[in-house]
Every structure is written in structure tokens, then in C-alpha cells.
């Protein structure tokens, strides 16, 4: 599903990502590790298509509608409620049975009670959970998660573990993380960036 060879990304003079080789089959679970500044986020951005590699070949067999990206930032509007945010993205991603799916996700990630409150009132953990809902909203084939555990509270962490266990094997997953041990049981491949 993902095949990269000698993938490199430069921003002018800065080299954000040195030559990387990577192959993830469909249904695989790849874990990416490395210290800050090693290019984990850059690699993930290349995978989802937010940036193009400066050098090397990168093939990702999924178009925008089939990719779910959880970034460092939550990617949700502060002034809108959870429902309004998910409704907007649901429309943009052409999610069928939008309302039901939104309800289901909000319930699963314990945001149902706060669903009509503005995101600006949420705690960090809640916002991150909403970001997760947004990522999973359109049931993507490829999940790309950038340090998903970093902003989660205890409740969210348990929910994410559950979600990943369910999805592993059925979807292709790529996770960049500081805690590789947590995902060791699920992973099929790992890549360490220097």
C-alpha cells in the first residue's frame, strides 16, 4: 500500500527528512520512532499528501478520500461544537449516513454529553478525542497518526488502544510515536529515524 525509496524532503536549505526507505503492505501496522526533529512529522505529511518529496519515490495507494490523518494539531474549529465540526468534515468527505456515524463516534469516544459545546471549552484530552473522531469519520483505509497518545487523557488512551486493536489488520496503519512499546504487540514493521 505504501512504498517509498530514498524519500527525502528539503525546505530550501533545511533537510527535514533524510533518505528513507519504507514499505507497508495493506493491513500492515507500521510504527515510526525517532527523536524530535528526526523528520517523523515530515514523513507523515508526505504520506498523506500535504507535501511532496524533494527526492526519491513515494507511492501511496490511496487517494484523499481514503486517508485519515491525525496531526500534532487537532485540526478542528475552536468556535464550533463537536457536532458542527464533524458535520462539516462529514460533508466534505461525503460520509454516508453522516448523522448516525457522528453520533456513533461521539458516543464511542465519550464526547456525547459535550457534543453541542464549543471546542474552545474542551480540555486538551477532549479536543484530541474529537480529532480522533474526525480522523475516523470517513472510515479511511489508511490511518496516519502523529503521536496520538501525546495529548490524550487516561480515558482517551484506553479508547484509542481499543480502537487500534479493532482496526489493526483490517486497515493500514502508520503511527509515529515516542512510546513504541505500547504498540509493539500490534505492529508488523517498525522504522527508526535518526
Amino acid at each position: 500500500m505504501i512504498r517509498g525509496r530514498g524519500v527525502e524532503k528539503r525546505y530550501g536549505r533545511k533537510r527535514a527528512l533524510r533518505g528513507v526507505d519504507l514499505a507497508v503492505p495493506r493491513g500492515g501496522f507500521a510504527v515510526i520512532t525517532g527523536p524530535n526533529g528526526s523528520g517523523k512529522t515530515t514523513l507523515l505529511r508526505l504520506l498523506v499528501g500535504l507535501a511532496l518529496p524533494t527526492r526519491g519515490d513515494l507511492l501511496v495507494d490511496a487517494d484523499r478520500s481514503r486517508i485519515g490523518y491525525l496531526a500534532h494539531e487537532p485540526l478542528v474549529y475552536r468556535e464550533l461544537s463537536a457536532v458542527e465540526n464533524l458535520d462539516l468534515f462529514g460533508r466534505l468527505y461525503r460520509v454516508p449516513e453522516r448523522r448516525e456515524r457522528i453520533g456513533m463516534l461521539l458516543g464511542r469516544f465519550a464526547l456525547w454529553e459535550a457534543r453541542n459545546e464549543r471546542v474552545s471549552t474542551y480540555s486538551r484530552g477532549m479536543t484530541q478525542r474529537l480529532a480522533l473522531c474526525r480522523t475516523l469519520l470517513h472510515d479511511p483505509d489508511l490511518l496516519v497518526l502523529d503521536e496520538p497518545y501525546s495529548a490524550l487523557d487516561a480515558e482517551g488512551t484506553a479508547l484509542l488502544d481499543e480502537a487500534l486493536e479493532t482496526l489493526a489488520g483490517q486497515r493500514t496503519i502508520v503511527v509515529a510515536t515516542h512510546e513504541p512499546d505500547r504498540l509493539a504487540p500490534l505492529q508488523t514493521a517498525s522504522l527508526g529515524l535518526a
Binding site: R10, Y11, G12, R13, K14, R15, A51, L52
Partner: protein, 209 residues
Amino acid sequence: MGLALVLALIVAPEDADQGISQRIFYIHVPIALTAYFCFGLGAVKALLLLWRGDERYDLESYVAIHQGTIFGALTLITGAIWAKASWGVWWTWSSNQLVLFLVLFLFYCAYFMLRFSLEDGPRRARSSAVYALFGVALIPVSFLAIRLAEDFIHPTVFTRDGPQMSGSMFATFVVSWGAVTLLAYVLYRVELAGKRLDADLRELREALQ
């Protein structure tokens, strides 16, 4: 080549046996035309960048626009000299050419401000390219606007002497134009080569680290 250029530039004005104002004309107009050409070239390179995605075009577009802006500044300066020589004032709003150049000069100065505020990378290259395309679209639209504005802006106090060119004057004009174009081309190649060398050196340095 440089020598030929200088010679051509000196010979051209000497051939003119009108007053100083006519002599400036031989430099002013070619410089203006060259500036337009540079902006156009910059826009073409910009289009190629967006279409083909090859980042080499970014540098070429930038250098072309840089040249265009320099020549644009020269146009304004020579235009001011011409105005002083012809009508005794350093600036006049009644010369549509000059006003157009002023607007374009401001536009392309903002181009450099844009480049200056963005970090090096594909984002900067693409935004610059889009802005360069807006520039050439602005040229005809601005010209139209200035023509229309004559209606209600300042009354035309000075009449514009559109020079009728006789044979020898025309020849002089062409020589001058050719010389200025050649100069622009040389400057373009020199600056482009210099910047490319810079970039290559940097890459080499990085690769060795």
C-alpha cells in the same frame, strides 16, 4: 560584449540631433519595453513552475522579475528626467506610461516582500509564481484603468509629444533597443548563474556534512 554594449549606448544618443529630451527617449522607451519583457518572462517561468512542478523555474522566474523591477525603477528615473527636460517638472500624472509603471513598480516590490516573508521551499515558489501571474494580468487592466481615470483625475495640462520618428531616428531607436535588451539578457544570465552557483555550493556543503 560589455564593450559593445557601452559603445552602442553612447553612439545611440549621439546620433540624435534633437534636444536632451529626445535623447533620453532613446533610452527610456527601450528600458520600459525591456522591463515589460522581463515581467512577461517571469510570468512564463512562473507558469512553467506551476504546470511542470520543476523547482528550477522558481529561480529563473525570480531573477527575471528582479531584472524587470530594476529596469522598472530605471524607467521611472529616466521618465522623471525626461519629464524634467520636456516640461520642467519631475513628475506628471498625465503620462499614462509613467503612472502604469509606478503601479507595477509597487506591485513587484510587494513581490519581493512576499518572498522575503516566506520560508524557502515549495510554498514560497508557488506563491511567488501565482503572484507573478497576477502581475501580468494587472498590466493591461491597470492600463485600462488609468485611461479611464483620465476622465476624472487631474486635467491634462501637458500635451504628450509622441515623437514622430524619421528613418535615422528609427534606426537609432532600434540600435538602442537592441543594446538595452542585450544588456538585460546579460544581466539575467549573470544573476541566474550566480544564484545557481550559490545553491549548488550549498547543496555540496550539505552533502558533505
